[in-house]
C-alpha cells in the first residue's frame, strides 16, 4: 500500500516510519519533534518506552530533575490507556498518541497543534515576535492572550506557561543581550515541521556511539527559572504569589525579570503533577487545626 507523502518534513531518521496522521495526534510540539527527528520511536499504536523518552530528553539537554518529572508525568497521563493495551507489560511505557484528551489536555495553550496543525494559530503566535524573535516577554504576552480563551481555568493557564517556557529554554539560542530567544523560523520549525531549530541542530554534537547530544544542558533551575519568570510577569497569578513567598522566605530579591526556582511540574507536556487531596474538616481559629 502506498503511503501518502506527509506534509510534515521528515528527516532521514524518520522518513515514512511515522505517518503524518499519527504525528498530528501528538499535541506537544516538543514530543512531536522528538518523534519526527527519530529520537522517539513509538510503535504502531503509539507506545513509547519511558527509558527512550528519558534518553531523548537527555540528548536534547534536559537534565535529571526535569527529566524525571517529565517521564513520571508521561506515564501517569496515559496509564489507563496503556494498561488497556498491554496490561502489566505496559509498565514503564506511555502512549504518545493518547495524550490529547488525557488528564493533562488543557485549554489556554497556543492552539497551534490543536487537532493537528493550525497555520493561522502559528501566524498568531509569531505575530508576538519582536524583531523576528520571541523571548520570555513575547511568550508571556502570547500566553496571556491564549489564556483568555473561554473555559480556560487557572489549570490551563499554568500548563500553557510551562509548555512555552520549556520550548524556549531548551531550543532557544542566546542573543547578544544574554537572553534566550527563538526566531520566527525556529518556532515554525518546531510547530509546523516538527524539526529542531537550525541553531539548536548546529550545536548538537555526536557522542562516541554516533548519536547526538545537545551541548547545552537545560537543568532544573534554568527551566524552572523560566517558568517562574513568565508566571511572575503575569502579576496577580497564584503562581506568581506562591513563588514570591518562596523567594521572600530565603531572602532573595525578586525583580520583575528575575526568576525563582520551582516550576517545571507540567512542562513540555505531559507531566504528572500530584492531584489535590480532598477537602478536610472545618478549621476554626481557636480550635486545634486538622
Amino acid at each position: 500500500m502506498k503511503v501518502p507523502a506527509p506534509s510534515i518534513q521528515l528527516t532521514h531518521t524518520n522518513a515514512g516510519r511515522v505517518s503524518e496522521e499519527n504525528l498530528k495526534k501528538i499535541p506537544c510540539p516538543t514530543l512531536r519533534t522528538l518523534v519526527n527527528e527519530g529520537l522517539l520511536t513509538p510503535d504502531a499504536s503509539g507506545i513509547v518506552d519511558l527509558r527512550q523518552l528519558d534518553k531523548a530528553l537527555t540528548q536534547i539537554g534536559v537534565s535529571t530533575v526535569p527529566r524525571k518529572l517529565l517521564t513520571v508525568g508521561a506515564e501517569g497521563a496515559t496509564k489507563e490507556v496503556v494498561a488497556q493495551q498491554l496490561g502489566d507489560m505496559g509498565r514503564g511505557s506511555f502512549n504518545i498518541y493518547a495524550l490529547t484528551g488525557s488528564s493533562l489536555d488543557h485549554k489556554g495553550d497556543t492552539q497551534v497543534l490543536r487537532g493537528g496543525f493550525n497555520q493561522e494559530r502559528l501566524d498568531w503566535l509569531t505575530s508576538f515576535a519582536t524583531n523576528g524573535h520571541i523571548g520570555m516577554k513575547e511568550l508571556s504576552n502570547a500566553q496571556l492572550e491564549a489564556a483568555r480563551e473561554p473555559g480556560t481555568g487557572l489549570f490551563g493557564k499554568g500548563l500553557g506557561v510551562v509548555e512555552l517556557t520549556a520550548l524556549l529554554k531548551v531550543f532557544g539560542s542566546r542573543g547578544p543581550d544574554g537572553r534566550k530567544t527563538l526566531s520566527v523560523d525556529d518556532v515554525t520549525n518546531l510547530f509546523k515541521h516538527s524539526t529542531f531549530p537550525d541553531s539548536f541542530r548546529a550545536q548538537l554534537k555526536p557522542t562516541e556511539s554516533g548519536e547526538v547530544q545537545s551541548a547545552q544542558q537545560t537543568g532544573a533551575l534554568k527551566l524552572i527559572a523560566g517558568v517562574v519568570d513568565m508566571s511572575f510577569r503575569q502579576v496577580g497569578t497564584v503562581t506568581g504569589r506562591a513563588l514570591m513567598g518562596a523567594y521572600n522566605a530565603v531572602g532573595r530579591q525578586l525583580g520583575l525579570d528575575q526568576t525563582s526556582a520551582t516550576g517545571l511540574g507540567a512542562s513540555m507536556c505531559p507531566a504528572g503533577p500530584p492531584t489535590a487531596q480532598s477537602k478536610k474538616t472545618v478549621h476554626v481559629p481557636g480550635e486545634s487545626p486538622s
Partner: protein, 157 residues
Amino acid sequence: MQHAGLRLDPPPDFVVDQVMFSFKGQPAAAGDPRVLQKQTAIRPSLIVHRRDVGEHAALEVLAGEVTAELVTSVPGLSELASEEMRFADGAAGMMVSFSFALEEVGTARQYHALRKDGGVLTTLTLTVDKLALTDTVKERWLSVLASAVKHGDGGLQ
C-alpha cells in the same frame, strides 16, 4: 487616592481592578543555629491580593482553580491540604496549604487563604518556617490569616 506613601490622581473614570501588597517578617537572627550552620533560615512573609471575580464565582470553584494552578506550577509540592476555614468576622473561607520540595526552601510551608466578599476575592499567601510550626505557632499564624475581615462594603475602591 493615597496608599503606602504614594498619592495618585487617576482619571475619574478609572476603577481599581486589583490590589496587592506584601509584608515581610524579620529575617532569622544571626545567632539562629540554622544561620550558623549555613542552612536556609526561612523569613516569613504575607502577600495580600484582592481582585474582582464577579458575583457568580463560587469560592469552592476558585479554591479548586488555585489548587490546580499550584500543583501544576510547583513541582514536587508535598503535604497538600485544602480545608474550609472561618474568618474572624464569621465569613466562610477556604485554605490551601503545602510544603515546598526544593532543597533551598524545603523547610517552608505556604498557606493560601481565600475569602469572597460580593464579587471581590481576597487571597492571603502566607509563607512560614515549617520547622518552627508547633501547634501554638501554627495557631498564631492561622489567626493572622483569619484576622482579614471585611471593611466597609468590602469593595476595591
